[in-house]
Amino acid sequence: MTEIPESLLRRSAEAKAKALGVPVEQVLAEMKGEGPPIEVPASDEGAVSPLSDEPSPGASAGQADAASADAADEQVEEAVSPRSEEQAEEAVSPRSEEQAEEAVSPRSEEQAEEAVPPAAVATIVEDEQPLAEVDGSGNDKLAAVVSPRPSVPPAGTPEGVRTARLLTVVKARAIQTVKAEPTDKVNTWPHLMLMEFGALLAITGLLVIMSVIIFSPLLDPANVNSTPNPSKAPWYFLGLQELLSYFDPQIAGVTVPTITGIIGFMMIPFVDKNPSTRPSDRKFAILLYSMFMVGAGTLTLIGVLFRGRGFNFTYPWKDGIFFDDLKDWVDFE
């Protein structure tokens, strides 16, 4: 429970003492739970009816009700909107079942009631128990204001003297400010994982079918003294080998891979300062990358299909395809 500032307590005690006609110290002691309950001077029944125009317990309870409903509202909002992704996940952890359920499921009216039953709060106000024991920081503050007030207007209070007064209004608010908006999410299990499992099965199926139909090549044993014609690199390096046939090795073999590989790729996030991820905002970046894709793809295709003996240009429909990786599948020559 939050410590009620001494000044507030004192002001409240003074008001109560004035109304009851007892020493301030006695009231203060009672409020702090150190002294005995104050003996209210006896009075005749009906002198002050509970439903008079004065603030009555019913009215105050109603007030508290509204206030606590407000607080409950606030609290549910806090529970529903994830403060951050990680925290939202933590909210699901088994602190309490209800809490977890609420954190995951969208907000609804029943849950607002479930979170802090307003009736319970009202009862506690009447019982003059410290409200803070219920839960929540919002209610904590509310309790600080409400609890030092007597629930029953003391009998014998002169007409027109208000025994209850508003010290201050504390708006129930979460300690942390909520910044992240709730996003549309689904459970990883089963939604994402079934999808992944499907993809996994599909690729396995594809690979097995491929492996049954297409055989890995195994040419003659390695012989340093007999160079095959043409000798080609693996397909993913054939674009580079193709470049080698146009340019000096220093350019095609070193400069281009270094620039595209290290500068061109690793530096992309640091060069591209455009914060947008919308395609319409980053036409230039997309154009550049697409040009690279088309260029690399074309070079590789030329290397695979259009290069024959002596790495000279050929047409695959005229001289066949010189690509030994698929040699055992289709006899091109």
Partner: protein
């Protein structure tokens, strides 16, 4: 439950055994709370969360993902497929290692023996080879997908850099495996490839020599490429993979929609 003749039905017996088995302490000890294989699992939002959270999967996936991330058309599962292909290549690779000697004398005949004498030898070798080509392709396509979605933008810059390193490692892995059958295709493809390394200014000669272990592709090269292929590159790759996956989770999961 008793049948008409007083004997316990087989169905009931199976059910009873099943319950005993799945309720046993051993199974209870293996399965963490919330496992869908656990006895008495019920489909509830809470248990759906537990399936991921109480599991090694939590390292890879959050409890919840954005709805658009589940759409196949968004990520095409390319990153996950690359990882799966890597696992598949590791499994088939271990199988192949049983039958392979990395020496210039034995390598070629080992591959021949694998293709003819070993049960499923050809199939596993084909799986390994086409899986490797497919992995190069899927890693490259994964990179392209990430680029077109702008998913390398802050705070994911560093993960992009790691991803590029992973692409290179994949290429090196594939390339180092290319030499191992020790046939004409392997020898000359690697000769062409390592010749390119020789053109690196200043240190080109040394790099080439370090790769080959000799002046030309030889038995020493075969051993080097073998060790690089089965140990060094996978080791480095796994390290970077761990960082890559971890950063995907920490940088906010898969990126937002277009």
């Amino acid at each position: 439950m008793a049948d008409g003749d007083g004997k316990t039905g087989l169905k009931d017996k199976i059910k009873e055994t099943n319950e005993k088995l799945w309720g046993s302490q051993v199974v209870e000890a293996i399965l963490r709370p919330g496992s869908p294989f656990k006895k008495g699992y019920s489909d509830s939002p809470r248990n759906r969360s537990y399936v991921v959270m109480n599991n090694v999967l939590y390292h890879l996936h959050p409890v919840k993902v954005k709805r658009h991330g589940v759409k196949l058309s968004y990520t095409l599962c390319l990153g996950g497929l690359s990882f799966f292909l890597f696992i598949l290549l590791t499994i088939t690779g271990i199988f192949l290692m049983f039958y392979y000697t990395p020496s210039a004398e034995a390598a070629y005949t080992d591959i021949q023996a694998l293709s003819t004498n070993v049960a499923f030898g050809t199939l596993v070798r084909n799986l390994h080879r086409w899986g490797a080509h497919l992995m190069v392709l899927s890693v490259f396509l994964h990179m392209s997908r990430v680029f077109y979605h702008g998913a390398y933008k802050p705070p994911r810059e560093f993960n992009w850099v790691i991803g590029v390193l992973l692409l290179f490692l994949t290429l090196f892995l594939s390339f180092s495996g290319y030499l191992l059958p020790w046939d004409q295709l392997a020898l000359w493809a690697v000769t062409v490839g390592t010749n390119m390394a020789g053109f690196i200014p200043v240190v080109g000669g040394q790099v080439k020599f370090a790769l080959l272990g000799s002046l030309e592709v030889s038995g020493a090269t075969l051993l080097r490429f073998y060790v690089l292929h089965v140990l060094a590159f996978p080791f480095i790759l796994v390290l970077f993979l761990a960082v890559h996956f971890w950063r995907v989770r920490k940088d906010g999961g898969i990126s937002g929609p277009l």
